[in-house]
């Protein structure tokens, strides 16, 4: 019983449990000789153990925080020098990217605009589909249909992005070429379609959760007042869940702007300004991913700067997401 637990590890749990099990028998023996002392000792030991476990959990929690901090600091350290060297205006608003040319140019405006257009396009295409699907799943679908469709949506979320890219490359790109009668199908439109499909699961899942959380009394009241079910869903349920749905959209935006692999396989990857839907374009993510392997010197530093810009976008999106979630939580 008086063993001191010196190792701040999982072994202490074992000792703790053993001690607990033996408690009844040993306590009786010790009770006769030193009743108060042992109780004090016991609770003290418990306290130490408690503290140790707290410490371990804190340490594990700090690993995640540490990673985020490390990446942020690293990105800033490696991204800022190139921006300084190139000049922030030339870098952010330069219209030409030719990193390996004899006279290199590092303008990332085409990447920024492409990422914004591509994400916006994916949202315009994906949000109505995702939103309607989630209303259907949450309110209208029978339980059986709901369970089948929800597992299909989960499966969609689990498909690796390289598979989306491959299917896009083999089916979507030639399809766009034939349907729109353009010389080549790879470009902004192909990327938008792939991204729209990829963001569907996040939008649907989160919206369904939000819609499911709407108190049934709201809907019952609306129905009792003579509204049809569809009127009820769109006038009562959806407005009540609007924070959650907005958060779902923002989550979709975050997923779309951060996607690299699938986009790289269907967008064409030429650093053009995105002035047509069929233009071959390069996103912020693909700019980093496609050139990183062979880059050196200022080119590599500039790629870190591109990553930094992307990081800023993601931070902005996360802040927006938090805003919506907090507002929802306060209500």
């Amino acid at each position: 019983m008086r063993r001191i637990c010196s190792r701040p590890s999982i072994f202490c749990f074992g000792d703790f449990i053993m001690a607990k099990k033996k408690k009844t028998s040993t306590e009786q023996v010790i009770h006769s000789t030193e009743p108060q002392g042992i109780n004090l000792d016991h609770s003290k030991k418990k306290q130490i153990l408690e503290n140790i476990v707290h410490g371990i959990f804190l340490l594990l929690g700090l690993i995640a925080v540490g990673c985020v901090l490390l990446i942020t600091v690293y990105l800033f350290i490696s991204g800022v020098p190139a921006i300084h060297k190139i000049g922030i205006v030339d870098f952010l608003f330069g219209r030409e990217w030719a990193s390996t040319a004899a006279d290199p140019k590092y303008g990332i405006l085409p990447f920024i605009l492409t990422s914004i257009y591509g994400t916006a396009g994916a949202v315009i295409l994906g949000v109505p589909i995702g939103f309607m699907t989630s209303v259907y799943l949450s309110k209208i679908a029978s339980p059986r249909v709901k369970s089948v469709m929800q597992s299909a949506v989960s499966l969609l979320a689990g498909i690796p992005s390289v598979v989306y890219g491959l299917v896009g490359m083999l089916v979507l790109v030639p399809g766009i070429r034939k349907v729109f009668n353009v010389p080549d199908g790879a470009g902004l439109l192909a990327a938008i379609i792939v991204l729209a499909i990829m963001i569907l699961p996040s939008i649907i899942k989160m919206s369904v959760t939000a819609l499911d959380a709407v108190p049934k009394e709201y809907e019952d009241a609306s129905l009792a007042l003579g509204a049809t079910p569809i009127e009820t869903y769109f006038r009562v349920s959806v407005p009540a869940a609007k924070s959650g749905i907005a958060a779902a959209v923002v989550l979709g935006v975050g997923r779309a702007i951060g996607e690299a692999m699938a986009v790289m396989m269907v967008a064409g990857n030429v650093p053009n300004m995105p002035d047509s839907l069929f233009q071959s374009v390069r996103f912020l993510t693909t700019a980093v991913a496609s050139e990183m392997a062979y880059s050196s010197g200022l080119q590599r530093q500039a790629l870190f700067s591109v990553a930094l810009v992307l990081f800023m976008f993601i931070m902005l999106i996360n802040a927006t997401l938090n805003f919506f979630l907090k507002r929802d939580g306060n209500k």
């Binding site: 985020v68 790879a186 071959s280």
Partner: protein, 268 residues
């Protein structure tokens, strides 16, 4: 979440790159420096050599010019160059030994009726001076230029051989040979390039100036879209024992299988 994973990748990648920069010249190690295009072939050879002999091997991907300079200044044992040595470089006491030939095949869709292009026309197509297949004897259709990403060895080789450096008007820049082949096989008007070893039946290899790309035509120089991979050494200072071993190993016929595995044609 996804973003963090990606950033982690970037961080890890950059560390692995840093790991390549050692310059020690002890007798138990071989250091090479130079052409990024030779990364694959020298990487495979170095790895096997290191495993077999226990002699450590380093490769610093800096580019042909820097590699040649590094040998001259004695900063590495063997320089790697993916272009022939210039006259003044040979006169300054350097010797080039051809390790392998990098043959680049021009590929089109099997449905394309064109089967031969002159080197000059290949360059004109890639710089946008010829934009329709009918101008080179094919069917009417806009030529779709498929290439590799900036920094790729194959792209560098193709552009330097055809003299189209920084002037190519690509429609798509893809990040792997497999992607190039897939894309060309999907689009009847596409043209692309790939290393000889990677070409498959799903695409049609063009003859250039009437010569088909095979191991023999690349080796004897009659197929022109090719370049040598050269090991650069000094004539006046002998190699260290370890470097000598490595040099002898990679230029021996035993290394041919590994060199072929890297997608290039062995010279010996």
């Amino acid at each position: 979440m996804k973003k963090n994973v990606f950033m982690m990748m970037v961080v890890v990648l950059s560390f692995t790159m840093l790991a390549g920069c050692s310059k020690n010249k002890s007798s138990r190690s071989v250091s090479t420096d130079g052409s990024t295009s030779m990364e694959k072939v020298i990487g495979i050879l170095g790895e096997v050599f290191q495993n077999d002999t226990g002699i450590s091997f380093t490769y610093n991907p800096t580019g042909s010019g820097s590699g040649i300079k590094a040998v001259q200044e004695g900063r590495c044992d063997i320089g790697l160059s993916s272009r022939k040595l210039k006259k003044d470089e040979i006169e300054s006491g350097l010797k080039g030994t051809i390790l392998a030939y990098d043959g680049i095949v021009i590929i089109v869709n099997p449905a394309n009726s064109v089967s031969d292009l002159s080197l000059e026309n290949v360059a004109k197509i890639y710089t946008g001076k010829i934009t329709n297949w009918s101008e080179v004897g094919g069917n009417n259709g806009e030529i779709i230029l498929i290439g590799r990403e900036a920094g790729s060895g194959t792209r560098d080789g193709f552009e330097s051989i055809t003299g189209t450096k920084d002037a190519c008007k690509y429609r798509q820049e893809l990040t792997s040979t497999g992607d190039v082949i897939t894309t060309v096989s999907q689009n009847p008007n596409a043209i692309g390039y790939a290393s000889l070893a990677a070409v498959k039946d799903s695409v049609k290899a063009l003859t250039v100036d009437g010569v088909a790309a095979t191991k023999e035509t690349i080796k004897n120089g009659s197929y022109v879209v090719q370049r040598p991979f050269i090991l650069v050494t000094k004539t006046d200072t002998p190699l260290s024992e370890a470097a000598q071993n490595f040099f002898a190993y990679i230029t021996s016929p035993d290394a041919n299988a590994l060199i072929s595995k890297a997608g290039v044609v062995p010279a010996n």
